[in-house]
């Protein structure tokens, strides 16, 4: 039983890293949003498994928030934004996909080596989760810096947040207050992002961040 719980937790957390990689090489916006929904769904499974293993019912709440909000509501809303704003259907990258993938592999190796080294005293279940979570966080960051388009940057940020929740759920008994508020913060964050996207649309007829970079403040 012990090895089974371990293996399943490992499978889900590892699955998230894998889906993070899939996010990196998507070149169409709709596909990107689908993969993000998958990312959130895997997160939800992983958190639910942790809830079962740790016998912590409050984690089921976190899991269902992840499933409903991040796997269904947010991708749907983003799809609508993309359609309504008539954004380019291609994901525009600042760095080539091959280079990004190589960078991603490096980041995953880094986080595994680093986390396994410093978490020697932690129980193995949480240990794996933390290592994978750091990898997901770093991959999210990588995605944010290598994308030009505002929507795909937002997806990068949301995948990063997924990594944070993976870490928090792996930390045994981390209080409920925090998890609910994390979910809540994501909601607010998304609200703000949505607001921004609409305003940006209002002003520039484009959600391309490069279109915004005409402004350099001091150089005029």
């Amino acid at each position: 039983m012990e090895t089974l719980t371990y293996d399943v937790a490992h499978l889900f957390a590892g699955g998230m890293v894998l889906v993070s990689f899939m996010l990196l090489y998507q070149d169409r916006m709709s596909a990107l949003l689908n993969v993000f929904a998958l990312h959130a769904a895997v997160l939800s499974l992983s958190v639910a498994w942790q809830a079962y293993v740790q016998d912590a019912p409050h984690l089921y709440v976190t899991a269902s928030i992840a499933l409903v909000l991040k796997a269904i509501v947010i991708p749907t809303a983003l799809r609508r934004i993309v359609r309504r704003l008539d954004i380019h259907r291609e994901v525009e990258t600042a760095v080539g996909i091959g280079v990004t993938m190589l960078g991603g592999v490096g980041l995953v190796a880094l986080s595994i080596v680093l986390m396994l080294k410093v978490t020697a005293g932690v129980d193995p279940l949480g240990r794996q989760d933390l290592a994978f979570a750091l990898a997901v966080i770093l991959l999210g960051l990588l995605m944010m810096v290598t994308r030009r388009n505002a929507v795909s940057q937002v997806v990068g940020f949301l995948s990063l947040e997924n990594g944070l929740i993976l870490a928090a759920s792996g930390a045994r008994g981390m209080p409920l207050v925090v998890e609910i508020s994390i979910a809540f913060s994501v909601l607010i964050a998304f609200f703000v992002i949505g607001l921004f996207l609409f305003r940006i649309r209002e002003r520039f007829d484009s959600v391309e961040l490069t279109a915004m970079h005409t402004f350099r403040g001091d150089r005029s």
């Binding site: 986390m115 410093v118 979570a133 944010m144 008994g173 209080p175 964050a189 520039f204 915004m212 402004f215």
Partner: protein
């Protein structure tokens, strides 16, 4: 339960109630007054902690360290609300903002005060993180208030960088919890400062080290430390000026407070790396970078934003050096910087409104055209540049001497940075304040009270520090290790 919450009603309940109320009031004159009154009550609530210190609960607490921050926070919040009332009146008249914007603005202002106060008195590292995020989000929407091209870009940049910073801080927070888990067990008390600091010696050092790196980078983004400072100048320059004042004067301090708390944790564990060198490095980088960047600025609000980066660098450096004297100087510098920088922004806000521009080239001879405002700015800039007898001179002097005593080599880049910044500010001040007046000479309906009130305190602190205050700060400096 009631007894544990009641003492905090003034600093938490009032802002949240005021935020709800202000969201419903359409008339901006009335809402500006309510905003000021709410900030005044918050200030009284914060000051009451000086007299009666409430008992710590698992979520909220007051100790010697955060009481300084909360009093400064409430005080500058109050004076800013006074300044904001006259600033907003002008924006309505000139048509840059509409009544509906103001409703939103005032509600967000109070929500921000709530977030910052909660972050300062939270006894729980998770709750503190949530509060910092709340304060960030409210300031993001206020930076974008004008909805111009530049304001939206600034707000977007602030939002993205701020969110990433805050995400890293949350990971660090989780790691601290994981480190505390074997010692303190599961549950809410494991995240309380009061428990963590007692038992930190038995935590796993390697985990704490990693956590601190994330926390320093994460909260450091909010402090505006180089190299994660990118959002700061834009957010200061493009938002409404009262927000620039609270960003520089308060929000940076709140983030710094978080860094200091975790630094205390690190210092309590013998096996963990010393946090000092990291903070010294980032502090010196910010100081040097900020000082050099001052030379090429053409926008007046941007100029003082870079000056904030410089000063946050100095403060981080001082706390990095550590020891009773440097910590004392750092605390004093932080307080003085909050007061002076917000005073400068009060002056700059009115100046930009009169002249209708923020370009330094188009502002000249203020001491002739608007003597009260012009001289206020001159005093403010001289104070921030570190000229005696202002309070900042004293704190900078203390920082330099304590560095000399501890590590003379570090004093060289420190003094060099200070001098570079000093030169840049005087150079700019010369053209702004003196010479032939340029641009609009419209009379100014400014409220000078907040501006001169801050400057008077800074001047008084430079000449004479009451011994009670000195003892108080010394006690905190010892606490900081």
């Amino acid at each position: 339960m009631i007894e544990t919450v009641l003492p905090y009603l003034g600093v938490l309940g009032i802002p949240i109630a005021a935020a709800a109320m202000l969201a419903c009031i359409p008339n901006y004159r009335i809402s500006a007054q309510i905003n000021t009154v709410a900030c005044l009550i918050t200030l009284i609530g914060a000051a009451s902690f000086l007299i009666v210190k409430p008992d710590a609960s698992t979520l909220l607490f007051i100790d010697d360290l955060n009481i300084v921050f909360i009093v400064v926070n409430a005080f500058v919040g109050f004076t800013t609300s006074v300044f904001s009332a006259s600033y907003i009146g002008h924006e309505i008249e000139s048509g840059r903002l509409k009544q509906t914007h103001i409703r939103f603005y005032h509600a967000m202002f109070q929500a921000m005060m709530f977030g910052m106060n909660l972050a300062l008195i939270a006894n729980n590292i998770g709750l503190m993180w949530v509060a910092v995020e709340l304060a960030t989000l409210t300031t993001v929407v206020m930076v974008g208030l004008y909805r111009t091209h530049e304001a939206l870009e600034a707000a977007w940049k602030y939002f993205i960088l701020g969110s990433v910073g805050i995400a890293l801080a949350l990971f660090g927070t989780t790691l601290v919890y994981v480190a505390a888990l074997p010692v303190l067990g599961e549950g809410l008390p494991t995240m309380a400062w009061t428990n963590l600091i007692v038992h930190v010696a038995r935590f796993e050092p390697a985990l704490l080290n990693l956590a601190f790196v994330f926390l320093l980078l994460g909260y450091g983004t909010k402090v505006g430390l180089v190299p994660v400072h990118g959002w700061l100048p834009d957010a200061h320059a493009e938002g409404p000026t009262p927000i620039s004042a609270v960003l520089s004067g308060l929000l940076l301090n709140v983030a710094l407070y978080a860094v200091l708390r975790f630094k205390m944790l690190m210092a309590g564990n013998a096996g963990a790396v010393a946090p000092g060198p990291l903070m010294i490095g980032m502090g010196l980088a910010s100081l040097t970078f900020g000082a050099f960047m001052l030379y090429r600025r053409r926008d007046i609000k941007r100029l003082f934003a870079y000056s904030s980066i410089e000063h946050m660098g100095i403060i981080t450096f001082a706390f990095g050096i550590g020891g009773p004297l440097a910590n004392f100087a750092g605390l004093l510098h932080m307080t003085m910087h909050s007061l002076t920088k917000s005073a400068i922004f009060y002056a700059v806000g009115h100046i930009a409104q009169i002249k209708g521009t923020q370009k330094i080239d188009e502002i000249r001879g203020l001491t002739q055209s608007h003597p009260l405002l012009g001289w206020g700015l001159v005093f403010g800039v001289l104070a921030i540049a570190g000229l005696p007898p202002m309070g900042i001179f004293m704190s900078e002097f203390l920082i330099v001497t304590s560095t000399m005593a501890r590590d003379p080599w570090l004093a060289i880049p420190l003094v060099a940075g200070l001098l570079v910044g000093f030169g840049a500010l005087l150079l700019r001040l010369n053209t702004i304040a003196f010479g032939e007046p340029l641009g609009s000479n419209a009379p100014c309906e400014a409220s000078y009270l907040p501006l001169y009130c801050h400057l008077a305190i800074v001047l008084a602190a430079g000449i004479y520090l009451p011994s009670a205050l000195v003892h108080w700060f010394q006690a905190i400096a010892l606490l900081l290790g």
